[in-house]
């Protein structure tokens, strides 16, 4: 149904030539779910965008062919997608080949009603009447298991949750019943429960309509759950290919082995440190949020204690009250009952996005010294010495002191963020989705660093995440927040 042959792509920037896809060849059968795994920069998204005809202007195609069979008839009409004109390609896009993207928040048009967005492909590719289109839209919204489609079509994206938006994205992509659906990290931005339900949905649609799915992900566990066959990509090349069971049971390539090893195993050490000092204690906290005139209760009787050198995980879906709990711990929330007791200093935060949370106009040294300058602590020299020592502690070279955030990789930036949190001499870090924006292998390195700091410096963490796997692996205890209640994960 799809056959990619000797595909080579590079980026043309003014100075540099960057090869992103080097000679890839693979095929897809009708009705197959093929997983494409690799970390960012491995060329998996580029491959997908090429098939979907969405390559950016600065991407250059060096060689290769992408054959697509758009009929089941015996004569099997096949076209080379790369040789189609823009107009011919547009007739396939959204009609035979559809794509869904990672960010359900931004991938839908914020000022267009849901119904119109789902309907759009029908307007472009079919001659259906208005009533027929409406019927088809409602039917498709039911297919993706959304409730009350009649009301939904009138809504705007901001009125829906992340999971619902992703379902709408899927509905808009499959409304013309395409033969191929390309899914680029469709579950990465969602929380655990929603992730599972979206995967379930894709499976059902595959079975119901015989639609082939090219599923791109950096998460091998997710791919293992959904796909029939897997391609593992690294540095623009396919390093391993095979059926899911084979890949998991007998990985041949070193890289595949590291990927499998990086899947959190789910083992947990349940250790309480009764003899240790308490750092934070919450006693029967009820927190509220005012929405206009309505005062909604967000946290309901939350109690827990965090000890020195301990790492507690906090997981929950979006809207479960995670942020409210964080605000409460940080002392940013006024409207709460109960007690929040800090036995040491307030925590320092490490945020999700290491790209956005460091001031791009300042050097790393300047950023690291900011809290010291603010507290008017030490001389210039001693501040510099402290910053450099801190860089070493997070395993970064001293030379980074004079660099700017844009010159660092995501992993390095997250190390800087951790160093920054520790600059004030705190021993309590509140990590808010601190690993979510990183690749699996980088994640593993940062986890190692957090663990090391925990053991050597007795740093304790409240580790907030939607990724239960990661939390389970690194935290000694895990709190699950649901509808404002907390429970310890057994």
């Amino acid at each position: 149904m799809l056959s990619v042959e000797n595909l080579k792509i590079h980026f043309d920037d003014r100075e540099s030539r960057q090869e992103v896809v080097r000679d890839i060849t693979f095929f897809m059968e009708k009705g197959e779910i093929l997983g494409l795994v690799g970390e960012s920069g491995s060329g998996k998204s580029m491959t997908a965008l090429t098939i979907a005809g969405l390559l950016k202007a600065n991407a250059r195609l060096d060689s290769g062919a992408v054959y697509f069979w758009y009929s089941d008839e015996p004569e099997r009409k096949k076209v080379n997608l790369l040789q189609l004109s823009a107009e011919e390609m547009r007739q396939l896009q959204g009609n035979e080949i559809s794509m869904i993207f990672q960010e359900p928040m931004t991938a839908l048009n914020p000022t267009m009603r849901i119904g119109r967005q789902v309907e759009e492909a029908l307007c472009l590719h079919t001659k259906l009447s208005k009533e027929q289109r409406r019927e088809r839209v409602l039917k498709t919204l039911e297919d993706v298991e959304l409730e009350n489609p009649e009301e939904l079509v009138e809504k705007y994206p901001h009125e829906l949750s992340g999971g619902m938006r992703q379902r709408v994205m899927i509905a808009a992509a499959i409304v013309c019943r395409p033969r191929l659906l390309i899914a680029d990290e469709p579950t990465t931005a969602l929380d655990v429960n929603t992730q599972a339900s979206i995967l379930e949905l894709l499976k059902k649609l595959n079975q119901k309509y015989g639609m082939s799915i090219l599923f791109i992900s950096h998460n091998l566990r997710v791919v293992g759950e959904l796909c029939h066959r897997v391609l593992v990509m690294k540095d623009g090349e396919v390093v391993e290919e095979g059926r899911v069971e084979e890949i998991f049971s007998r990985p041949r390539h070193e890289y595949t082995k590291t990927l499998i090893a990086a899947i959190p195993s789910g083992t947990m050490t349940n250790s309480f440190h009764e003899q240790r000092k308490k750092v934070l204690e919450l006693r029967h906290v009820n927190a509220y949020y005012k929405e206009g005139k309505i005062r909604r209760q967000i946290l309901d009787d939350v109690s827990f204690t965090l000890y020195e050198g301990e790492m507690i995980g906090l997981v929950g879906e979006s809207g479960s009250g995670k942020s409210t709990l964080c605000k409460c711990v940080l002392g940013l929330l006024k409207d709460y009952e109960g007690e929040v007791i800090h036995y040491t200093e307030r925590p320092q935060m490490v945020f999700q996005d290491p790209y956005a949370s460091l001031n791009p106009k300042k050097t790393i040294g300047w950023i690291l010294e900011e809290p010291l300058r603010f507290c008017k602590e030490g001389s210039r020299k001693s501040r510099r010495a402290k910053a450099e020592a801190m860089l070493e502690k997070v395993h970064l070279s001293k030379e980074i002191y004079d660099r700017y955030p844009r010159e660092l990789s995501g992993g390095q930036r997250q190390r800087v963020s951790i160093a920054l949190a520790l600059m004030t001499g705190t021993s309590f870090i509140l990590a808010d989705e601190a690993l979510s924006a990183l690749d699996v292998t980088v994640q593993a390195q940062i986890i190692a660093l957090l663990k090391e700091l925990q053991e050597q410096e007795q740093i304790c963490y409240l580790f907030v995440s939607h990724d239960l796997d990661v939390v389970n692996m690194i935290c000694s205890r895990v709190l699950v927040l649901k509808d404002g209640h907390v429970n310890w994960l057994e």
Binding site: R90, Q93, G94, N95, S98, F101, A107, N109, E120
Partner: protein, 312 residues
């Protein structure tokens, strides 16, 4: 509904502040209406008598209170200089200025929206670069100068209109609008250039958004993506910008009325200030404030209509 109440209360408060400031300004700036009426030859005693008659010697708050009471009942007072009711003096001039302001707005939109869209569709090609340069030039020419150029070129050379040959809207509405087009264009062009600059960059930012990629993935052509998806999102900041420009347009129309000899409210305002004809000035200021505030209210409502994420 709650929004309307909030806005109208705000409007009333704003008007009170504006009128008080105007009143205070007249106290501070030098010049005496009674002296202006009687001329420099008049004796101090005579001036004093007239001041007493006009109520100018009463305390400020009393005069202001009386003015507000009259204004609310629809009486805008009597011109010091012409001894005519202010309402009659400015009543038939307001439509002229309002027409010119609205026309300027329409022209700004008519020019800037197509030009911006064209620039973005052909980003960095010659047409985009051409408009960028033209924009830069247009933006830096003051409206009165454009007005003078128009008068020379279209009035004296091509004879498309008679300079100074203003046609009243009471006689010939079509001719009136025709006469207003060039002055409105003189006001609109520099502002249209600013709007293009703003709308173009806002549209370019929208075209880099994820939802635009989604739109392409459904098989939309570049034109369709631009028109059906990006424009509606990209125009939001422009609407705010246009609202902020309302006051600017009215201020410029006052100048342009002089250049083209249009008997709008601007001319009345200028001559009344020099004659110290305070009742007229006060009324004009308050009316201009009303127009600006109402325009901004319309902008708010429009914004909410286009972007449902905004709650009023």
């Amino acid at each position: 509904m709650k929004y309307i109440i909030k806005k109208v209360t705000g409007l009333i408060i704003a008007l009170l502040i504006v009128s008080i400031l105007a009143f205070l300004a007249f106290e501070i700036i030098p010049g005496d209406p009674a002296r202006t009426i009687l001329g420099t030859e008049a004796t101090d005693a005579k001036v004093e008598v007239l001041r007493e008659e006009m109520g100018l010697n009463r305390p400020l708050h009393e005069r202001y209170g009386k003015w507000v009471r009259d204004f609310v009942t629809g009486d805008m007072g009597t011109s010091y200089y012409y001894q005519e009711p202010v309402k009659e003096m400015i009543g038939d001039k307001i439509p002229i200025t309002v027409a010119m302001t609205v026309l300027s707005f329409v022209l700004i939109l008519l020019v800037s929206i197509p030009v911006s869209i064209l620039c973005v569709r052909y980003e960095n090609r010659w047409i985009d670069r051409f408009f960028l340069i033209l924009n830069q030039v247009t933006m830096s020419i003051p409206p009165f100068f454009i007005g003078i150029i128009f008068t020379v070129v279209f009035g004296l050379t091509f004879k498309w209109f008679t300079p100074g040959g203003y046609i009243s809207y009471k006689d010939d509405f079509g001719g009136f609008l025709g006469y207003l087009i060039l002055p409105s264009l003189a006001i609109a062009l520099p502002r249209a250039a600013m709007t293009v600059k703003m709308f173009r960059s806002s549209l370019i930012a929208e075209m880099r958004q994820d939802y635009v990629r989604t739109a392409y993935s459904r098989g939309n052509s570049p034109w369709r993506v631009l028109m059906k998806h990006a424009v509606r999102n990209g125009i939001l900041p422009v609407i705010t910008f246009l609202g902020m420009m309302a006051a600017d347009i009215i201020a410029n129309s006052i100048v342009i009325e002089q250049v083209f000899g249009i008997p709008g409210i601007g001319r009345t305002l200028i001559s009344s200030i020099s004659k110290r004809d305070y009742p007229v000035v006060e009324a004009v200021i308050v009316l201009i404030a009303v127009v600006i505030l109402v325009l901004n209210m319309i902008v708010d409502l429009l914004y909410q209509k286009l972007d449902k994420r905004i709650e009023l």
